[in-house]
């Protein structure tokens, strides 16, 4: 599980871990808590191109549907099969085993640091 301070964040309550040219993307603990028990995750296919700001997946809980927005432009290199099989991983370990996709990105947009994200959620 990544340290929350190592991660960057978006206003859509996603986190991004940058390692070289690959960004690992997930949703924050705040987002997971807001959704409640997650029962279905739909992720973009490996090899597909994603564009920053566009909806590329869905995260459904018992109560509602959350959308996954692409935080970067790039190509999906891996989708987390474990969360598709066991969506509850997103609740139990959103910053670790509950990661969603890895993207080979072109350029990295400006993202939020932990302090800025925390200010945003007010928690």
């Amino acid at each position: 599980m990544a340290e929350s301070s190592e991660l960057q964040y978006t206003a859509e309550h996603e986190w991004v871990l940058v390692e070289g040219t690959v960004a690992t993307i997930g949703i924050t603990q705040f987002a997971a808590d807001q959704l409640g028990d997650i029962v279905y995750v739909d992720l973009p296919a490996v090899g597909s191109t994603i564009a920053e700001g566009k909806i590329v997946g869905e995260i459904e809980s018992t109560k509602s549907v959350g959308e996954l927005f692409a935080p970067v432009n790039g190509t999906v290199v891996e989708a987390n099969e474990a969360v598709i099989a066991s969506p509850e991983l997103v609740n139990s370990d959103p910053l670790g085993a509950g990661w969603l996709v890895k993207v080979e990105f072109e350029t990295l947009p400006e993202l939020l640091d932990l302090a800025a994200y925390t200010a945003l959620t007010g928690e």
Binding site: G36, D37, V39, E60, S61, T62, V65, N91
Partner: protein
């Protein structure tokens, strides 16, 4: 995310207990009520397999008393209330003259001249006003007791053992208490009404307790429940439980534009009772042939149709989902929907438009889930 600064929000007398238990809150009809304490699914399963305790203090309690109380309710409600024996509860509806549903209610017959009506939080003012207005020609008083009473539900197969072992709770003739009946009880010297009713599809009880004793009763029930798997449950699990049980929720399955028959509640309306009641003419006339009716839908996979999603037959839109979820108990998507009568027969194959993609769905009779008795 309780916003205490919101002065318009209402809080349950048990609010501090929920905060201490780590609940998340949601607005429900202006009340800040627990939506979950830990996990919706864990709370849901606890009610199906053990027991859950719910604070539903937002529900409205209204007393109707006086020599004409029964006659008033026969006129004001769709059911034959005067025929309900003392000690029994009855599910009923309050209709507009148009036949549209103002609210669904439970009526408890305390005695010939005393009834206790429980309405939905969001319809509290409307129901109190309608009953008071309809009482004009009757010798009966309608009083809103909501602020004086806390309603605690204990639901699930272990409920009975928990109530039996709750310190300080003395329940009269508990062994004889049938479903949809209630009995007078005391807790710490105060009168408590214990009803075998609920909104989960499980056996269970609803306890009406004075505000001053509510915290102590919640704590006593929780203590007795510890060895019986009792967990506090929020409105999220309450919603999936009632959906599985095929129970309607006002504002979703019921509303002013719905006649009881469309909602599958024709049996709740007593056309046999003598005398007029509000909505009678409209109910006897019936809904238009092109009106829609409530059905159950089941689908495969994990993607649920949700309230507002279109229901299709081929390329034609034939209905709209009013409530839907991936059923925690059954493991597949379920929904209630209003569909054209031609598409309402059990076995009809339809599709649900889930945000642009279609999933196959089949019309089924309600409820989706029925407990083994």
């Amino acid at each position: 995310m309780t916003d205490i600064s919101d002065s318009a929000a209402r809080y349950s007398p048990l609010h501090d207990l929920h905060v201490a238990a780590g609940a998340s809150f949601t607005d429900f009809a202006g009340w800040q009520m627990p939506v979950r304490y830990s996990s919706d699914l864990a709370e849901h399963h606890a009610v199906r397999t053990a027991a859950g305790i719910f604070d539903i203090s937002h529900m409205a309690e209204i007393s109707v008393t006086g020599p004409d109380a029964a006659r008033l309710l026969d006129y004001a409600l769709a059911g034959n209330i005067s025929a309900v024996a003392a000690g029994k509860a009855k599910y009923s509806l309050i209709l507009e003259a148009s036949g549209g549903i103002l609210d669904d209610l439970i009526v408890y017959a305390i005695g010939d001249d005393e009834y206790f009506v429980v309405a939905n939080a969001g319809n509290r003012d409307v129901v109190v006003a309608a009953l008071q207005e309809r009482a004009a020609e009757f010798d009966a008083d309608v009083d809103d007791l909501t602020d004086d009473i806390v309603l605690i539900a204990v639901q699930g197969p272990n409920s009975r053992s928990i109530l039996e072992q709750t310190k300080g709770l003395e329940i009269e003739a508990f062994g004889d208490l049938k479903y949809y009946a209630f009995t007078n009880s005391t807790f710490a010297g105060s009168a408590v009404l214990v009803a075998r009713t609920g909104y989960t599809g499980e056996d269970g009880y609803e306890l009406y307790v004075p505000v001053k004793d509510a915290v102590a009763l919640w704590n006593a029930l929780s203590a007795a429940g510890e060895s019986h798997g009792l967990v506090p449950c929020g409105l999220a699990s309450r919603d999936t439980l009632r959906l599985e049980a095929g129970m309607p929720l006002y504002g979703h399955e019921l509303g002013l534009d719905t006649l009881p028959e469309q909602a599958g509640l024709g049996r709740v309306v007593s056309l046999k009772k003598t005398g007029d009641f509000v909505g009678r003419h409209a109910v006897e006339t019936g809904a238009a042939d092109d009106s829609r009716v409530l059905v159950g839908l089941v689908a495969e996979g994990k993607r649920a149709g949700r309230a507002g999603y279109p229901v299709m037959s081929g390329d034609a839109e034939v209905g709209t989902i009013t409530s839907g979820a991936l059923s925690p108990t059954l493991g597949y998507p379920i929904a209630m929907a209003y569909v054209d009568r031609s598409s309402s027969v059990a076995g009809t194959e339809l599709t649900i438009d889930v945000r642009g993609s279609r999933i196959a769905a089949t019309v089924v009779p309600l409820p989706f889930y029925k407990r083994e008795i």
